[in-house]
Amino acid sequence: MAAPNLSRDPLEPLPLLEGTHTDKTINDSLLNHVWRGAGKGWWALFGCALSALGLLVIAICWTLYKGIGVWGNNIPVGWAFGIINFVWWIGIGHAGTLISAILLLFQQKWRTSINRFAEAMTLFAVICALLFPLLHTGRPWFAAYWLMPYPSVQRIWPQFKSPLTWDVFAVSTYFTISLLFWFLGLVPDLAALRDSSKSKTKRMIYGIFALGWRGSGRHWAEYKWAYLLLAGLSTPLVLSVHTIVSFDFAVSVLPGWHTTIFPPYFVAGAVFSGFAMVMTWMLPAREFLGLKHVVTFKHLENMAKVMLVTGMMVTYGYVMEHFIAWYSGNPYEYSQFFRVRQHGPMAPIYWLMIFCNCVVPQIFWSKRARTNVLVLWFASILINVGMWCERFTIIVTSLHRDFIPSKWENYSPTWVDISLFIGTIGLFSTLFLLFLKFVPAVAVTEIKELRHELAHDPTTEPVGETH
């Protein structure tokens, strides 16, 4: 909780690694939380997560048994919680790829302490996201049948000119690549786990997942390239995924959707919400898992700055949408942005969105706020809420008041909608807590590499004795 030593020279950078370390102390301190038994706090959180997961199972079973009529969707609000949650979760996943891939390409050293964590988050967020499009087909066991091109007797192919079909390819590619990238990065750390485990069973289990990794120089030579290329591929991939998600809306003619600013504004929003989610989980994790020496205030500050920048990009997107609605002279657009959103039945959600996404991140101009754990944590929660409200505003508010007043209809979610949403938070939390229990939350190998780099870099303060 303590703020960093602010009395130090402000021009001197905050350290990336705190304290004096050797390979061995890094190894032990970062693996410690895996070997240590689960504490009461972990079990309490896991219990809550499992209960929410139970709710998800009930809601899924009820949806499959009764059909998607149990959701609150109607005509004209044919897309509601399902797609809101899909876009929200996918966006959260994007910060993981940004941290692990884009910051790697930009050689940002601070990414090393948080990339494993963020990549795991990506993976679990995409799993949660994928549930919704599968469930909204009503019969997910037929989903592959409708979504994938395969030769059938009906001779019907998917509509390759539709962004919804592009989405199928984009999201499934994104999930696969994220999984491969995460596992590839994990293999050396699994070997470290195998070799520092005390019991034979654990050595066996981690040994199986480590695939017989022996740190061979011949392997490392190819490994570095495989890892770098996966990062290079993930970078345009993450941009393409959210661009295609935004096309789902932007190619239609609905006021509120029909806009060319959607792709960049969706990507910025995705990074914004993703960093907020990393922050929400990282702050308690570094506290309870003993990771403060690798996730320092420098990391927290940098993440806060990214949230500030992307928050302002999102704000710019909102301003532009409103400007174009006015400037185009299109009465439907004007009505959507200046009457329905601001004064309509869903207006509270719109104003909550403006508060959480535009006003709250401004607090990060202050260094005191950027280095105060409580402020960071509450702000990150509010940003997550704000980004959910943004998707609600875009989707439901636009749909429920379109061109013809006779088509207008209000929307309210049912208990199934709400349970599915809370349930995916439970699924995400369950997976994440299991990850924190069984796998090192920080990329141990990369921290060792970072320590050596810092030790040999004359511009940084010495970290640990040089070998």
Binding site: T22, D23, K24, N27, P149, R155, W157, P158, F160, K161, P163, T165, W166, F169, A170, S172, T173, T176, I177, L180, F181, F183, L184, P188, A191, A192, R194, D195, S196, G207, L211, G212, W213, R214, G215, S216, G217, R218, H219, W220, A221, E222, Y223, K224, W225, A226, L229, L230, L233, S234, P236, L237, S240, I244, T445, E446, K448, E449, H452, H467
Partner: protein, 190 residues
């Protein structure tokens, strides 16, 4: 895994022998590796908890193969995706919508890109494990007790001895190259 892999008990199993030398520092390992290689040993490998800069030169490795494999994966993905869409939309089931063209390249870009990334990423991952011959649960170097530190904080050099090679000579070279300690590990028959 050449000699003893498919050998049965009576078929003349020849155990591979390695001299496993530990170095104190990564820099020491790099210069030591170079010296051992210059002394004429070809089957050498390093074992480190992290990738080291300059390892490729020290081991005398050629260009990495992964980039080419990934390029092939990307091109394959592009070709498969584009030709699939072309086949579906133009050849197998053309649908005339207001006389718009059957073959519309801009609409094909996203899926072509995604499949290129998918196959390129897949070939990077699976290409690496194929090149590295992993998973390999057993390797003679695991026979050493000390080797458990290779993934933690130990810097090792393994020298595979030729079947008739002299282990004492390898020990001497490892010592002169700056190794802290060296031991002989022998493949066990399975």
């Amino acid at each position: 895994m050449s000699a003893g892999h498919d050998a049965h008990e009576d078929s003349g199993f020849v155990a591979r022998r390695f001299v496993l030398a530990e170095f104190a520092t990564p820099e020491g390992l790099l210069s030591g590796t170079k010296k051992v290689r210059e002394a004429g040993y070809k089957d050498i490998d390093t074992h480190t908890p992290m990738p080291l800069h300059g390892l490729e030169e020290a081991l005398g490795l050629g260009r990495p193969k992964i980039p080419l494999i990934v390029l092939c994966g990307a091109i394959a993905g592009m070709c498969i995706a584009y030709s699939l869409i072309y086949f579906c939309n133009v050849i197998d089931f053309p649908i005339n919508v207001a006389n718009r063209p059957m073959h519309s390249p801009p609409a094909n870009i996203p899926i072509t890109f995604e499949l290129a990334v998918l196959l390129a990423g897949g070939s990077s991952f699976f290409g690496f494990f194929t090149l590295a011959k992993l998973p390999t649960p057993y390797h003679p170097v695991f026979e050493s007790e000390d080797f458990a530190r290779a993934a933690v904080d130990g810097y090792f050099l393994s020298i595979e001895l030729p079947p008739d090679g002299d282990q004492d000579k390898a020990f001497a070279i490892a010592q002169s190259a700056g190794a802290l300690s060296a031991e002989l590990v022998t493949e066990s028959e399975r």
